[in-house]
């Protein structure tokens, strides 16, 4: 078996002494896509953030280890972390617009990220970005490149943030609801891009989403979280087809379906 890209080993996470994630254990091989579902506030974002040491002043991993390609992330120095972040693992935030600097254009932030990790000329970065923009359904990529985050719509910001990390071709992509603000067409394009990234570069992806459609379409494995506890974990097909837990069943049942017939 290949070495796991990321492995959570019995991880507990606290905010101010309140444990919000308990005994999380799972791992991900290169090229695998893990869908994480669960009710809001159950600790999904927290799980992702802990992998990048981004829990903020009040949060901390109080137990267990997180291994990234064999390194213990929690023991890494700041510089070590900084080298990993972006290049090796990258994250798209749930609130993508807020994760972009409000006083800089999208283009300059992309260039910055590229300069930090890639050995690529500015022109080349721009070319590749515009290409990616086009593939993600932007009609006018050049305008996006020159825009400030507040000048873009929610979905545009989300895709811009996605492009930002896809450009870096990380080994692990942590995507926190990357398609929640997108219309279905754009959503489809984004998912195609994610799959392309996985196929082309062997990127492993942790994908938090509420959209069961997305899970069934791209995920290899599914993780169901409830109140910080992993209650179900297995191959996507199995879990979706025959959920073991009542909660999962409820979750699946609650998914709204488009009625295409006329009443």
């Amino acid at each position: 078996m290949k070495e796991a890209v990321i492995a959570y080993d019995n991880v507990d996470i606290c905010y101010d002494g309140r444990t919000v994630v308990r005994q999380a254990t799972f791992s991900l091989q290169p090229g695998e896509i893990l869908g994480i579902v669960g009710e809001s506030g159950s600790g999904k974002s927290t799980l992702l953030q802990s992998a990048m040491n981004l829990l903020g002043p009040g949060g901390a991993v109080t137990q267990g280890h997180i291994w990234f390609q064999g390194q213990d992330i929690l023991a890494l120095s700041d510089e070590g972390m900084q080298r990993l972040c972006g290049a090796q693992m990258a994250m798209v935030f749930q609130d993508a617009a807020a994760s972009l600097c409000p006083v800089r254009t999208i283009g300059s932030q992309i260039c910055e990220a590229a300069a930090a990790h890639l050995d690529m000329g500015k022109e080349e970065v721009r070319r590749q970005t515009l290409e990616l923009f086009a593939r993600l359904g932007f009609s006018d990529g050049r305008r996006v490149w020159e825009s400030y985050p507040f000048e873009l719509s929610g979905g545009m910001n989300q895709r811009a943030a996605l492009v930002l990390v896809m450009l870096l071709k990380p080994a692990l992509l942590l995507a926190d609801e990357p398609t929640s603000a997108l219309d279905v067409c754009a959503q489809k394009q984004v998912l195609d891009e994610l799959l392309y990234l996985r196929d082309q570069y062997g990127t492993a992806i942790m994908l938090v989403t509420h959209d069961m459609g997305v899970v069934s379409r791209v995920a290899d494995y599914v993780l169901v979280v409830k109140d910080g506890q992993i209650i179900e974990y297995g191959p996507a097909k199995d879990v979706l087809a025959s959920p073991a837990q009542a909660y999962t069943k409820e979750l699946l049942a609650a998914v709204p379906k488009l009625r295409r017939d006329r009443r």
Partner: protein
């Protein structure tokens, strides 16, 4: 009676270097009493801009917006506060819509406070509202940066409902919620709607969700309305090419 009417509303943003973005291009539609309207369209098509214009967060370049027959295109000050007694909005990005230095409870209770509701009663009502939106009552004491995206969104919905609006503008109000929460909120909205008090302008990407709570559907593309009609008509027999593509792309 018409609750909301947009007449030929156009919005042009002038960018920094003189570039102009026509975010809305002669958009006209109306929402009748007792009716809820869904608004879909690709991202960047101007949905949020419609919502912002209706709530007077931005000035439109031309056109008129009427609320119950009153022209609110240029409402300000007192008139605007009157408008907000009827219209409320749930923002697309919930976290930044809460004051970072105040608790969620303060945010939710603000309009009650302005309405002169006493402290104890306000507390009770805030808790009730939060619970109704699927949050624990304790959430009233949490700060925005301490809650998850979904929790924040629910608080935002609770805040909007606190004002007991006639028209609720939801800008992707449920897209950050898990499916069960989503259903819970939708049921709540449907309930309020059934009481006959609430009209919705529901912006979403999720056609299925829109189908559940809206009577009519408007499809937008590049700042224009490309299709408008009864929900089922549009879903089952899309007229425009764009709508057809949208419906086909639905995964589930």
């Amino acid at each position: 009676m018409t609750v909301l009417e947009l007449q030929e509303v156009t919005k042009v943003f002038s960018g920094r270097k003189g570039a102009q973005v026509r975010a809305l291009d002669r958009v006209s539609f109306c929402i009748e009493e007792g009716e809820s309207v869904g608004l879909i369209g690709s991202s960047g098509s101007g949905k949020s801009t419609v919502a912002n214009a209706v709530c007077r967060f931005i000035d439109v370049t031309s056109g008129r917006i009427l609320l119950r027959g009153c022209d609110i295109t240029e409402a300000r000050g007192k008139a605007l506060r009157q408008v907000y007694k009827e219209v409320q909005m749930v923002f697309q990005s919930p976290r930044s819509s809460f004051d970072p230095r105040r608790t969620l409870g303060d945010g939710v209770g603000e309009c009650l406070k302005n309405g002169g509701v006493g402290k104890a009663e306000r507390r009770e009502r805030v808790r009730a509202l939060l619970e109704r939106c699927g949050l624990p009552a304790a959430a009233a004491d949490w700060y925005p940066h301490e809650v998850s995206g979904g929790q924040c969104q629910r608080a935002a919905i609770a805040r909007a409902l606190a004002a007991q609006p006639r028209l609720l503008v939801c800008d992707e109000a449920t897209s950050a919620l898990d499916v069960m929460a989503q259903r819970q909120i939708l049921e709540l909205l449907l309930e309020l709607k059934a009481e006959g008090r609430l009209q919705l302008l529901f912006i979403t990407h999720n056609l299925a969700v829109a189908q559940q709570c809206c009577d009519r559907l408007i499809v937008m593309d590049k700042g224009r309305i490309v299709e408008e009609g009864r929900m089922d008509d549009v879903v089952c027999r899309p007229q425009s090419e764009y709508t057809r593509r949208l419906i086909e792309a639905v995964l589930y």
